[in-house]
Subunit: 527 residues, 2 copies
Amino acid sequence: MTLTGEMLIGGSAVRGGDSPVHGINPATGETLQPGYGGGGAAEVERACALAAAAFDTYRETGPEDRAAFLEACAQGILDIGDELIERACAESGLPRGRIEGERGRTVGQFRMFAQVVRDGGYLDARIDPAQPERKPLPRSDIRQRHVAVGPVVVFGASNFPLAFSVGGGDTASALAAGCPVIVKAHSAHPGTSELVGRAIQAAVKKCGLPEGVFSMLFGSGAKVGSALVADPRIKAVGFTGSRAGGTALMKIAQNRPEPIPVYAEMSSINPVFLLPGALRKRAEAIGKGFVGSLTMGAGQFCTNPGLVMGVEGEALDSFLASAKAALEGAAAQTMLTPGIHKAYAEGVAKLSSNNRVQTVAEGLPGEGGPYMGRAALFSTTAEHFAADEALLEEVFGSSSLVIRCPDEATMLRLAEGLEGQLTATIQMEPEDLEMARKLVPVLERRVGRILVNGYPTGVEVGHAMVHGGPYPSTSDSRTTSVGSLAIERFLRPVAYQDFPAELLPPALRDENPLKLWRRKDGVLGQN
Amino acid sequence: MTLTGEMLIGGSAVRGGDSPVHGINPATGETLQPGYGGGGAAEVERACALAAAAFDTYRETGPEDRAAFLEACAQGILDIGDELIERACAESGLPRGRIEGERGRTVGQFRMFAQVVRDGGYLDARIDPAQPERKPLPRSDIRQRHVAVGPVVVFGASNFPLAFSVGGGDTASALAAGCPVIVKAHSAHPGTSELVGRAIQAAVKKCGLPEGVFSMLFGSGAKVGSALVADPRIKAVGFTGSRAGGTALMKIAQNRPEPIPVYAEMSSINPVFLLPGALRKRAEAIGKGFVGSLTMGAGQFCTNPGLVMGVEGEALDSFLASAKAALEGAAAQTMLTPGIHKAYAEGVAKLSSNNRVQTVAEGLPGEGGPYMGRAALFSTTAEHFAADEALLEEVFGSSSLVIRCPDEATMLRLAEGLEGQLTATIQMEPEDLEMARKLVPVLERRVGRILVNGYPTGVEVGHAMVHGGPYPSTSDSRTTSVGSLAIERFLRPVAYQDFPAELLPPALRDENPLKLWRRKDGVLGQN
C-alpha cells in the first residue's frame, strides 16, 4: 500500500491543511515519508457529524454482524502483512519480534471482543415481569439492557503503536460496545496509523456499516484533540499517555455543558515487595528476573517496575548484587521518540544527582543510535523515600528505585503512602504468608492488579485482566483498559417499562432470540 | 425513643456545637423539638477516621454476615414503629399512607440488597486459568473480583425522608457493596434522621461490625458536606437534590488531589409524548391519568412529568380539556419545606407571566397551611418552546407544560433538543408504532427509563430498574440510584495474578465456596 499522508473521515481520505508531521525512525534519526498534514475544525466537525449519524444504526447491529465486523478489522490488520511490521518497527524503534507479538495481541483483542459481543453478557439483560395482581398496586413489566454511550474519541498511545493505538484496545472495546470511534492518531507513528486506519475503514465498508463508524484524524492535541473532546456529540474518551495529558483531557471533559467520562491511563510506578522469605530463598533469581522485566522494551511499559521495597540485610544485598550484575550487562535500547528519550535522560539525571539516592548500577551505554536508553537502578532508605515526594514520580523507561526498609512494618507503612497504581507485585514464600495477608488489603485499595512471584510487565488480554487502578494511575478506578471488562466503559443502562413486544430490543424479548443469560427478578438463567 | 438532637459517630452520639437546626412541620409551620446542633471539622475527622478504620474488615465480611446486617437494618427501621411514621409525617407534611409506603420501600431495599449480596453476581468473579504449556510464553493464572471502593458519603434527600435519606437507596447499596457510609443528614427531617440513624447504629453493634461502618452528621452543606467530600478517605459520594447542589459536589470531588466519583441525581422534566393514535382513542383518560401522576405527592418527585408534547388538533384539545377538569379539582397539598414551596411558587409565577405561555388550569387554592402547593398546567407552541431555554427548567412541584406541535416531525426534533432526563413516556396505540420506532432511539440516547402507556412517577425497586440518565439528570449516566444495579456505583475491579490458594479471596477460590456464577475464560458457569 502506498502511504498517502491522509486522514480518514468516514469513507473518505483527506489531506490536512496544517504543516505536516513526519514519523522519525528513532534508531537512526531518519525522517520518514510521507508527511501527515494535521486537521482542524472542519475535519473535527465532519468526523463528529458522521459518527453521530452512524450511531443509531451501528449500536443496533445484531451480535453476529457486529462480531463479523470486529473480525474483519482483525483480518484486515493481518492482511496488511509485512508492510505493517516494517513500518511499525521503523516508526517506534521496537524490534521485529516485539511488533509481531503486538500485532498478535491487537488481532486477538478484536477477536476476543467478537466473542464478547456474541456472548452478550455485557448487555446485563434483566427482566422484572409484570405483577398485575400485586397489592396495593400492580407492578409494571420492567426490562433493562445496556446501550452504547455514543461516539467515542480514542487517543493513540506512543508505546503500543498497534495494541494501544488506532486499532488497539480502546478502539476495539468501544466498537464492540456499539460506539462509533474517532481516533486522534499519535504523531509518533503516523504511517502505522494510516495502515491500520485504512484496514478498519475497509472493514466498515465491507460490512456495509455507515461510514461514520470510524474516522482517524491527525493534528495537534491542543487543536484537534481538545476540539474532539469538547464536541457535544462525543460521549466518552479513551486515552493512554502522560498524567499531564490525561488530566488536561479530564478538565476539558468536566467543563463541557454535558460532562463526559474520560478513561485515561496515565502513570504508575508498579511497586514490587520483596518479602523476607522470598529474599532468603531466591534473592539472586529475583534480581535477575526483575532486571529482565525492568529492561524489557526499554522499560517503556505502563507496568514497568519502577519501585522495589525490601527489608535491609544480607538477603536484600544479594538481590541488589544480582540485579546490579544483570543490569550492567543490559544493552541500551532505542527509545520510542526523541521526546521520551529526553524525558528519560532527565529523570535518570535527577535521581543520579539526588544526594539521598545511591546509584546501584547502570546498563551498557548506548551505541549506534541517537535515542538509546541506558538502564539504571537506584536505591535509598525508607526515611529518605518518605521525605521526598519527587521519588514517587514515574521515570518512563528502564529506571527503578530500591527502598531499603528497616523492617516489615515500615514496608507496610510506605505501601499505605503510595498513590494509586496499575499493579503491585509480591515476591513471597509460604513463610511470608502472614506479611502477605497484611499487605494484600493495603494493595487492594491502591492498585488494579496484584501479582505474586511474577513481574508486572506483560499484560494478558483476557476476561479477568484489570489494567486500571485508582487515580493517578488512571482517571477512573472503576474500569480497565485491557481485557474484556474494558467494554463496560462505553455502556450505560436503559430500562424499558411496559413496552409492547414489537418495540422491545431483541435482547429483552420474551423468546430470548439472542439466547442471552438474563436476570429474571434477579435470578440468572438462559431464558 | 426520646430524640436527643445528637449526631452519630460510629458507636457514639455527640452533640454538635453549631447553632441547632429544628425540623419544621410544613403543614402547620410549627417548630419541632429537639434542635440538632451542626458538626464541624472535628466530627468530620472522627467519622472519616472511623470509616477508614472499619473499611478493610467490613468489606471482607462474608455474604451471610453482610446480608444479615442489611436485614438487621431493615428490621431495626421497622421496629421503630409508629414513632417513625409520625415523625416523618410531621417533618415532611406527607400523608401517612405515603410515608408507610415509603417505609415499606426502604425496608424492601435493604432486603433486596441482602439478596444481591447472597447472590454475589455483583462481584463479577472471573477466572482465566494458567496455561503453563502455552507458546511462546506460558499464561499466568489471573482472577478478578470487584471490591468496594471505600468509605462513601451519602447526602439525604428532602423529598424521600426514608427511601432516599439516612437509610435510603444510596446507603443500602453502598453498605451492600462493602463500603462504610457517612450520612450528611438533611436538615428538613432531622428527627426522622436520628430515628433511622440510631436503628442502623444499633444494627452495626448487634452484628458485631466495626463501629465506623456507619456515622451520621448534621451541619451545613458548606461546612460539613464539603469537608466530607473533600476528605481523602472518602472514595465516592451519593446525592439526590438540586442541580446547583450536585454540580457543587462534582466540582469539589474533581478538584481533590485524588478525584472521586459523585453520583448526583439532580433534575429532570420527564417528557411525555402523546402520539396521535393514543390521543384519538384515549385523550380523556390520558388527561386524567396524567394529572394524577402530576399531582401525586404535590409533584415532589424527580420523575414528575413536567413536559408534555402532542400534535395540535381536536384530540390534543380533548386531552387539555380533560387535564384541565382534573387539575381544577385537585386539592392543594402541603409541600416539603418552606424553601421548596417558595421555589415552586416562583417557578409557577415565572411561567404565568411569560407571555408566550398560556395557563391551561390551576388547581384548588391552598387552605389550612402555610406551605400549600397549588397545581398548575401551562401550554405553549413548539416554536416558542424551541426559542426559550427557560422553558426547559425544572419546576419542582405539580407544574407541567404542554407543547402543541404542528406535526410529528417537530415532536421528534424537539425530543432531539432535550437535555438528559431520568424518564420519558410514550402514550401510544398500535397504529403509532412507526412513530414510536423513530422516537425510541432518540429517547434511548437521552433518558434512563422509557415507559409506554404509563406515568413516570412511582419508581419500582427491582433488578431491572434504572433511575438515572445522561447529564444533567444525573452526574453519571452509567449508573442508577434505584434498584439492585445501584450497587455497581461503589465497586471497582481488582485482578489477582498467580495467587496461592491461601491468599485468594473466597470468591475466587477453586472450590467456589460462595457458589458464585463465575466466568472461566469468559464462559459463565457455577463452578
